[in-house]
């Protein structure tokens, strides 16, 4: 059993390193992004192996899912910027499916008829040969240094006993949520501020364009939205609720709801107007502001800044997590759409 697990670990780590290497060595950006998404999914498996299901959930939803969507839409934007003439040409006329025998012949026929119709790959220059060995020396030396430090470090008990000893005052039954929203609430507040800053930064760069990815024709995507949107809402709120006693919490919930929002912005049902910019601004800032306000209240009502009275800890944590979920979800969608709404400037 032990040997099998060791083999699994070695194969997984080799796979991670191999995929990361292929990703960074790629000259085709689309290939690099796809390999990066693969890397994120493999990483989620590694987190499960390290008994960190919270991180695995967050990695699969945020690291692989949302980062992947952001990267793909960025590639689409870059393609439109680099090939401005192709941008508004619209889809090429479809070939007659009866006339061709195989997929390859079909693609070739299309390319021959309209040379611009094929996909213009987003490539980048291969790595120059100059400076190869110095880069290897720098990164390899650093890796060896890190490994030596890790190998000589002694195995302390860590902070697990300290967290376990204080669980009864935290207000929740899940160690990670207790750390995030009580013991080290500062970190989480600053993290929400960071999310807010990223959103504001993207908004300050300009108005959002119509997404380069046009909504696909046909009934399948709207049908999937109808099925998946309610499921995503219930699952997101469930993850938020579960965070108090099991793996889950505001980040995972925010990621699931943000993904639902991204799906909506891709399918773009006509009956949905652009959201009111004022409401959007309130929603994006709600998480950090609510956290800060309740933290200040803790300064006067409780023992210190960002601490909660013991009997109120559970409801306060749930309120803060709800605000954080809303802000994270909205900011992720805003970052995907990429800029402030045109209504903002009107």
């Amino acid at each position: 059993m032990n040997a099998a697990l060791l083999a699994f670990d070695v194969v997984l780590l080799a796979g991670l390193l191999g995929v990361a290497w292929r990703c960074l060595a790629s000259t085709d950006l689309f290939r690099a992004v796809v390999l990066f998404i693969t890397f994120g999914l493999l990483l989620a498996i590694a987190w499960v192996r390290l008994e960190a299901p919270d991180i695995a959930l967050a990695e699969a939803a945020i690291g692989a899912g949302i980062t992947g969507a952001l990267l793909l839409v960025t590639l689409e934007r870059l393609k439109h910027i680099m090939n401005p003439h192709r941008g508004d040409a619209g889809p090429s006329p479809p070939p007659d499916p009866v006339a061709s025998d195989t997929g390859n012949a079909d693609a070739e026929a299309r390319d021959a008829r309209d040379p611009g119709a094929g996909n213009v790959a987003l490539s980048c220059a291969p790595t120059p040969a100059r400076g190869r060995w110095s880069a290897v020396a720098v990164s390899g030396g650093l890796a060896l240094l890190l490994m030596a430090t890790l190998a000589t470090q002694d195995h302390g008990p860590g902070l697990q006993p300290a967290v376990a000893a204080h669980m009864d005052v935290s207000g929740v039954d899940h160690g990670i949520t207790a750390v995030l929203l009580n013991f080290r609430a500062w970190d989480t507040l600053l993290e929400l501020a960071m999310v807010l800053l990223a959103g504001l930064g993207a908004w300050s760069l300009g108005r959002h364009d119509a997404l380069p990815a046009r909504p696909a024709p046909g009934p399948v995507l709207p049908g999937a939205v109808r099925l998946l949107l309610p499921v995503a809402i219930v699952t997101g709120v469930y993850l938020l609720w579960a965070g108090s006693h099991a793996p889950g919490g505001a980040f995972q919930a925010g990621a699931v709801l943000g993904a639902a929002g991204i799906l909506m912005s891709l399918a773009r049902p006509h009956s949905l107007p652009d959201p009111d910019p004022r409401l959007l601004r309130i929603g994006v800032t709600a998480g950090a502001l609510l956290f800060l306000a309740l933290g200040l209240w803790g300064l006067f009502a409780g023992p210190a800044l960002l601490t909660w009275p013991r009997n109120l800890a559970y409801p306060l944590i749930l309120i803060i997590e709800t605000g954080a979920t809303l802000s994270i979800a909205l900011t992720l969608v805003a970052l995907f759409v990429g800029g402030r709404s045109p209504r903002e400037d009107a």
């Binding site: 195989t102 997929g103 009934p219 309610p230 809402i233 938020l240 609720w241 049902p269 009956s271």
Partner: protein, 182 residues
């Protein structure tokens, strides 16, 4: 969610839309059921359960309304059985082609003319046929669907017509005269 929801009180008028409150109510019932599966029935008393249910209702109201369709529950087991059987065959078929040393593929594009009306029946059909042996929905223009098939020599249309017939029965559309494909 809407696609498979049952409503027995609606007349089988195809263009009619369900009133908003009814759609929201049905979605909220489904959300409550989903919450009970995820979190356990006892957790339905928690305020977050109400939050999830209320948000689902609101979201369904914000989405464009689909056509109200009468569901015929007696057709459901037949459709499920057919789908399970063919999707197992589909998996075995493609797995066999993938491991076969000579890669026995004869990929082709084929047209197929659908008779199902637009809306949930057609969406369900297009989603399901991609899991059937050797067929993949590529594009839909009006009634003409372009399929990609793994093996152009096999008779793919027969299975699809069977699936179409069963979905039509599920939505109570089989009283229509089986209009011949153009």
């Amino acid at each position: 969610m809407n696609d498979t929801r049952q409503s027995s009180s609606n007349p089988p008028v195809r263009r009619a839309r369900r009133p908003g409150w009814l759609r929201a109510l049905l979605a909220m019932l489904a959300a409550a059921a989903l919450w009970a599966v995820l979190a356990g029935g006892a957790a339905l008393a928690h305020p977050f359960a109400w939050l999830a249910i209320a948000l689902t209702g609101g979201a369904v109201l914000a989405l464009p309304a689909g056509r109200a369709l009468r569901l015929n529950p007696t057709a459901l087991p037949g459709l499920l059985g057919f789908f399970l059987r063919t999707s197992v065959l589909g998996g075995i078929d493609v797995a066999w082609r993938a491991v076969h040393p000579r890669l026995p593929l004869a990929p082709a594009f084929e047209p197929y003319y659908v008779r199902l009306p637009h809306g949930p029946p057609l969406t369900l059909f297009m989603s399901m046929l991609s899991l059937l042996p050797g067929t993949l929905a590529v594009r839909l223009e009006g009634r003409r669907m372009t399929l990609h098939v793994l093996d152009g020599r096999s008779d793919n249309a027969a299975t699809l017509m069977e699936l179409e017939r069963r979905i039509a029965r599920l939505y109570g559309l089989d009283s229509d005269p089986p209009g011949s494909a153009r």
